[in-house]
Amino acid sequence: MKIQQKEILRYLGYGGKPADSAVLERIDAIKKELEACLTPKSVYGKWSCEVNADGTVAIGNFIIKSRTLADHIKDCEYVILLAATLGAEADTRIRRYSVTNIGKAAITQAVCTAMIESYCDDLECRIAGEQEGLYLKSRFSPGYGDFSITHQKDILNFLECGKRIGITLTDNFMMIPEKSVTAVIGLSKKQDGHKGKCGDCGNLQCEFRKEQAYDF
């Protein structure tokens, strides 16, 4: 897994500006530490789906009412449901460093975020290799656009994440471990090449939005 340095700096608020060597050294050390102690886990599966004109997506009896998701996967007959996590140790380390060294905590947090994203990117590659004649749309997670975050629950249930990779939800639909991702990935017969991970999101004010995302 290649953790993107650019992403780490973006999460730390550098906005494209260079970081000094002391910070880069710290990032490097933390990257090494986390790579050695974390074991990311994932579950995914393929389901047939129906994308309806009224802005709903039906995956079996799991109905998602989301115009943005329906648009995003409009020509898809199948979807991949995916869940991935860095595991509990990532949370413990962030908590520990919040007490001992808040700077280290902030960097650890950023590296973990970049790491789970890279891990999902790798998974996507693997999934893409398993599909014959179908192409992956970019992954779309609860919380994007009008895809309600409450659907975390359905995805986690579908994939039995509690017992298989240890992701649970709080009453407010936050995932624990914190560094976890759930997503719907449309499988299309057409290859469209995605815009970049956040390019499809409607939140133009997002401080973490990538520059290339404006490019549409």
Binding site: Y44, K46, G103, T170, M174
Partner: protein, 792 residues
């Protein structure tokens, strides 16, 4: 014969999967299987019947998720579903030979327990108790706690089972292919906890197929004294076109299960993907296998949620520093509820070689049960090092033992009748190991023989409470040699006998031996060496003392415990022994903070405060440096990591100032009180923690209420502490509503207080809408606002 009489003596057979059968009968993903006990009674009956016909001895009821969290949106109360489920299973047994047992099946809540998640331990306990009571009342024969992946949840469920039922309890947990629980624990840690809390059998289910479980069985039989239950899946599940499929058919399953039965399992059956055909084949293949009777092990071990420390090989280092006795800075931290100080002291000891941390917060005038609970759960949220709960307050003791995540070590019981009869029942109930002090109503005996007799008395009394001597660690009490030269020898003679003749583990606090003498470390280290060479199992010492730790590493190498002297070499090769760093005076405090150099900032502040007043150090050096970095941050010249490195450096400087003030007997005046909290429902708190460090750097008195904070607690604290500024953080759209609610209540109950808000999803517009006084868009915003609020 009853189930308990047969358990462990013959191979018994569980049934197979319920969920898989239900899915075959049309249960859809997301539908609650437990409702079928009401709506599809005959299908459930049919599944049970099919398993009985395949020859199983034990049916699992269809109650895996019959808890109030999962049933809350249905019209059925928990007891109703459970009694229906048990009734169907019992009816199936009666109508088919009548010879099988009904195991009331109890699965995880689906939530993660606090402090990692948002379900309180006691709430989990209540959920399980409700289930246990219903299952027992309905006439089940056994309680099966299964598919557990979190030891803390197992503890809640097992306590609920033991406290609300007399039925035999089997606990099975789920491991990943590396042999670990999802929360990080290994087999030894799980065995330690489950055995100590009084289960009748334990083992594995779900997650893996029989072949993988075969590989894990030797580890189970190595540590486990109880009968072992194994319910594997029919292989590892994969999702194919929306359907979960398993790859191990009945024949292969039966073959593997026969090996498990011959290899040390006592109760075997199936989990997900197994069918009556699997079970029938398994039983056919396994009939006639003679089980290996469980062997009682005598390993002394304590654990956290994921890590076990075993006694026996070499000496265990128990860090002594989390104790206010003789430590003014620790006293101050406890009185000011400054848990961060305590956590750092704990982590530093771990970094220096402590494998267990003693935790003592006893201080006159302190609410010890509350503070001990806070310290224990707080430490457990940041470290997996096991803790030794050190208190004489029975209430504090019980609460800490109950909420401790793992198998606790308790310090202590003594030979006094009252102590034996109040402490030992708690030790038994919560499955602790306990330190036994060799003193009684007549004080500390002067002779080794006298102390040995008290040790024997403690061991006997414990036995009467059902506590095995492996769970007792005797402290023969170190007395100072300056008041009697025989003292060290007496302590060691008693310790030697107890360890080597009674076969009971021993522990000593060491430093007392040198009280009243100069250069105490020489005596301490030498005494520690003598004790270790005579078999001391654990020392309660200061891991930051290099004299003590050097003695420890040397002894481990000399005794051969440190194989190839590798730890010794790792510790000392290429490193000169650590000496106190010379103060770096060339760099100013201002520069040290701006450059984010923690140690230098601490040293500079230490030097500076000898020359000018603490307030001057803060106002003339510390704050200007922070201002400089803050300005850079706001101008996009300095970024978050650098800002926080500077903040850490300033924090270190503050610590030096605090220590100086303590020595002078004064307390640093602070600018104003600010409450910080992450709102109810929100468990992301790094943003709040950043703000806290910065505000403290600017000398504000921050009351940190943590995360997931009830609005009422914020109101109460604001009123009690007369706080006029409150900072709230929320990270999710789903929790911003709770921020709004908190502000509404604050406006009503604490008129006049100011509220500042921050968090990823907030905007100025939204902050205005929910009635906040100030929206802090970044880390420095709240500092400026606080300055404004408190200077007008």
């Amino acid at each position: 014969m009853t189930f308990k009489e047969r358990l462990g003596k013959e191979l018994l057979f569980f049934d197979g999967a319920m969920g898989t059968a239900l899915q075959d009968k049309g249960l859809t993903a997301g539908e609650l299987p437990e409702l079928w006990n009401i709506t599809q009674e005959e299908i459930i009956f049919g599944i049970h019947e099919a398993y009985l016909k395949s020859g199983c001895d034990i049916l699992k009821t269809n109650t895996f998720g019959a808890n109030r969290l999962k049933l809350q949106d249905t019209e059925y109360p928990v007891s109703h579903i459970i009694s229906a489920a048990v009734k169907i299973a019992k009816k199936a047994v009666q109508e088919n030979s009548g010879e099988a047992y009904v195991a009331f099946d109890l699965g995880p809540t689906g939530k993660l327990l606090a402090p990692f998640g948002d379900l309180d331990f006691e709430a989990a306990y209540e959920i399980f108790s409700e289930m246990v009571i219903a299952g027992t009342k309905s006439g089940a024969d056994i309680i099966l706690i299964e598919t557990m992946s979190d030891l803390y949840e197992i503890k809640a469920a097992l306590l609920a089972a033991k406290e609300n039922s007399n039925l035999p309890v089997i606990v099975t947990f789920t491991l990943d292919d590396a042999g670990k629980l999802l929360t990080g624990g290994d087999i030894l840690t799980a065995v330690c906890l489950i055995e100590s809390l009084g289960a009748d059998a334990l083992g594995l289910n779900c997650g893996l197929g029989p072949n993988q479980m075969k590989k894990l069985l030797p580890e189970l039989t190595r540590y486990c004294s109880l009968p072992i239950a194994i319910n594997p899946n029919a292989g590892v599940p994969t999702i194919l076109n929306g359907k979960t499929v398993f790859d191990v058919g009945p024949d292969r399953f039966a073959g593997d299960m026969a090996e498990l039965g011959a290899g040390g399992a006592h109760v075997i059956g199936g989990c997900c993907g197994t069918t009556p055909a699997h079970i029938a084949k398994m039983i056919q293949k396994c009939r006639g296998i003679v089980v290996k009777p469980p062997i009682i092990k005598s390993l002394t071990a304590v654990s956290s949620y994921s890590k076990t420390v075993a006694f026996g090989d070499g000496t265990v280092i128990i860090g002594e520093r989390l104790n206010p006795t003789g430590k003014p800075r620790m006293k101050q931290a406890l009185r000011e509820n400054d848990m961060e100080y305590l956590y750092n002291e704990g982590l530093e000891q771990i970094n220096n070689g402590a494998t267990i941390l003693d935790v003592n917060v006893g201080l006159p005038g302190i609410d010890e049960p509350a503070v001990l609970q806070y310290a224990v759960t707080g430490l457990q949220s940041i470290t997996d090092t096991p803790l030794q709960i050190d208190t004489a307050d029975t209430k504090a003791m019980e609460r800490a033992l109950r909420l401790y995540n793992g198998k606790p070590l308790l310090n202590s019981v003594c030979g006094k009748e009252e102590s034996l009869h109040t402490v030992l029942p708690l030790v038994k109930k919560y499955g602790a190991a306990v330190v036994g002090l060799t003193l009684d109503e007549n004080g500390i005996p002067e002779t080794a023989q006298g102390r040995i007799e008290i040790a024997e008395k403690i061991i006997k009394a414990a036995e009467r409470y059902g506590i095995h001597k492996k769970d007792i660690i005797i402290d023969t009490l170190t007395m100072t040699i300056s008041t009697g030269q025989e003292n060290a020898k007496t302590t060691l003679d008693a310790m030697d006998y107890i360890r080597n003749s009674l076969g009971v583990h021993t522990v000593l606090g060491v430093s007392n031996v040198s009280f009243g003498l100069p250069e105490r470390e020489h005596i301490n280290a030498s005494f520690f060496t003598q004790a270790m060479s005579r078999g001391l199992s654990a020392g309660i010492v200061n891991p930051l003392s290099s004299a003590m730790m050097n003695a420890y590493y040397a002894c481990q190498a000399l005794s051969g415990v440190d194989i190839n002297c590798s730890r010794y070499v790792e510790k000392f090769a290429l490193k000169s022994s650590p000496s106190i760093k010379k103060p770096v005076t060339e760099m100013s405090l201002f520069d040290a903070i701006v450059s984010g150099l923690r140690e230098k900032a601490g040293v500079c502040a230490h030097d500076l405060v000898q020359e000018i007043s603490p307030l001057e150090v803060i106002n003339r050096h510390l704050v200007p440096a922070l201002d400089e970095v803050g300005r850079g941050f706001e101008q996009n010249l300095v970024f978050l990591p650098q800002l926080l490195m500077s903040a850490e450096a300033a924090k270190a400087a503050f610590e030096s100032i605090k220590l100086h003030m303590l020595r002078q007997g004064g307390v640093q005046e602070k600018k104003g009180k600010i409450i910080l909290a992450t709102v109810k429902g929100d468990i992301h708190d790094i943003g709040k923690n950043i703000i806290k460090v910065l505000l403290e750097n600017y000398n504000f008195n921050v009351i940190d209420l943590g995360k997931n904070v009830e609005p009422t607690l914020i109101v109460e604290t604001a009123l009690k502490e007369k706080v006029t500024l409150i900072g709230l953080s929320a990270l999710m759209t789903t929790t911003v509503v709770n921020m709004e609610e908190t502000i509404r209540i604050l406006r009503e109950m604490v008129p006049g207080c100011k509220v500042m808000v921050g968090g990823a999803v907030l905007t100025q517009e939204y902050a205005d809408k929910i009635g906040a006084d100030f929206y802090s868009k970044d880390a420095m915003g709240s500092v400026h606002y606080a300055e404004k609020v408190f200077t007008h």
